[in-house]
């Protein structure tokens, strides 16, 4: 049993996913499955999907599995020319993105208002 809770807010301009708890192997698998089931996001992103915003303000540890999911999601969004934004990432995740040279790959915002602009 993992400790991840995922909140979803659907707006016409964006979908906000709030991640609360650890994005570890099981958490990443759960988030991946949810994105596939509810939004058909997998290797590509549907044409009618506008913008995915992932809010990390309630997130705990993000392991390599969580980072791997974010990286592969970003590839899908790039391939489909769609927008994905990470909001309020915790300092340890920021450091892991720097270490894994992924920090420049993502659109990262410090607050939600900026993210959904």
């Amino acid at each position: 049993m993992n400790n991840l809770n995922i909140g979803i807010i659907r707006k016409s301009e964006y979908v906000l996913i709030s991640v609360e708890g650890d994005l570890d192997l099981e958490g990443a698998a759960e988030l991946k499955a949810l994105l596939k089931r509810d939004f058909s996001i997998e290797d590509s992103v549907p044409q009618d999907f506008s913008h995915l915003v992932i809010d990390f303000s309630g997130a705990g540890a993000v392991s390599s599995s969580g980072i791997g999911l974010l990286a592969s999601l970003q590839r899908s969004f790039n391939n489909s020319k769609k927008k994905m934004t990470l909001v309020k990432i915790p300092d340890p995740l920021r450091q892991s993105l720097i270490v894994t040279r992924l920090i420049g790959v993502f659109r990262i915002c410090d607050d939600l208002a900026e993210a959904i602009r």
Binding site: E20, D22, G58, A61, S63, G68, Q74, P92, T100
Partner: protein, 285 residues
């Protein structure tokens, strides 16, 4: 009245006695709240430092020692939850009290999950402030007493876990180790916790193929100088990489292949047994 430009000292008094006194960092963007709290706590003999926002508070917290933090939840820029996370990254043991508006129970729950010790709902009575602050300071005193005791008396500790291949058990081990990391005064606790989580996940999923009949043995050795953790699975083993030449996948968007790289980045030393079924990680103090 506190300045909007920087964190500053409001009062320097510090007494001794049964009543616990401490150095308290108070953060609120509302100057009137800041003034009321600082005036009251100063009158009780605490040393109070005020900050009008999270950024100023973090700057101050990085370079000074505090016994307690009291922070508003809703502030422009860095909010209370962000601030708690940043402060806990710097000092996981600092007690934090959250000030919140009535009806904001979800944020209170989230702040407690992030490690806040208690909360007060606005508008609050000064008697309540005194009571909550006393409780937090006395808990902190007890923690420091224990820490001093362990620093002086505990030479080393060895814990051995034999786990089924199940990630929930792995979480219990990382939580246990996290507490010992604090007892032995290691910094960068999240790095150690992440490295341990990665190593156990590798052992459970890749080493043992998530077969719950196969065990994962985790040995955690703490001493004053270093932490050594080994994680061994019962699988067939792997061709082990040379830690000195560990590289990231050429495909930057690859969904996997970063676990060992992160362990190697966050721990000071890393080595494997010949069979490739055991990883040993060392973090020096």
């Amino acid at each position: 009245m506190p300045s909007n430009n920087d964190a500053r000292k409001c009062n320097g008094a510090r007494n001794s006695g049964a009543f616990a006194h401490g150095r308290i960092l108070v953060i609120d963007d509302d100057e009137s709240i800041l003034a009321i709290i600082s005036r009251f706590l100063s009158s009780e003999g605490h040393e109070v430092i005020c900050a009008p926002g999270g950024v100023e508070a973090v700057d101050r917290f990085k370079s000074e020692k505090f016994d307690l933090v009291i922070t508003d939840m809703y502030m422009p820029g860095m909010d209370g939850l962000d601030l708690i996370k940043k402060l806990k990254t710097i000092n996981v043991n600092i007690p934090i009290i959250v000030l919140t508006a009535a009806g904001s129970i979800s944020n209170v729950v989230q702040s407690l999950k992030l490690g806040a010790q208690n909360y007060m709902t606005k508008p609050f009575k000064v008697a309540e402030v005194s009571q909550v602050v006393q409780k937090a300071l006395k808990t902190n005193q007890m923690f420091n007493f224990r820490k001093d005791f362990f620093d002086a008396s505990l030479d080393h500790s060895r814990s051995v876990f034999i786990l089924p291949s199940n990630l929930e058990h792995a979480r219990q081990v990382t939580n246990f180790t996290d507490r010992l990391v604090g007892v032995f005064g290691f910094e960068s606790t999240w790095m150690i916790q992440l490295a341990l989580m990665e190593a156990i996940t590798n052992a459970v999923v890749h080493g043992n193929g998530s077969d719950e009949n196969k065990k994962v043995t985790v040995v955690v050795n703490f001493s004053k100088e270093r932490l050594e953790i080994s994680v061994e699975d019962e699988g067939d083993g792997f061709t082990t990489p040379d830690p000195a030449s560990l590289k990231l996948e050429s495909d930057i968007f690859a969904p996997s292949g970063r676990g060992l790289f992160l362990i190697n980045s966050y721990m000071d030393e890393l080595f494997f047994n010949d069979r490739g079924s055991k990883i040993t990680m060392i973090k020096k103090r």
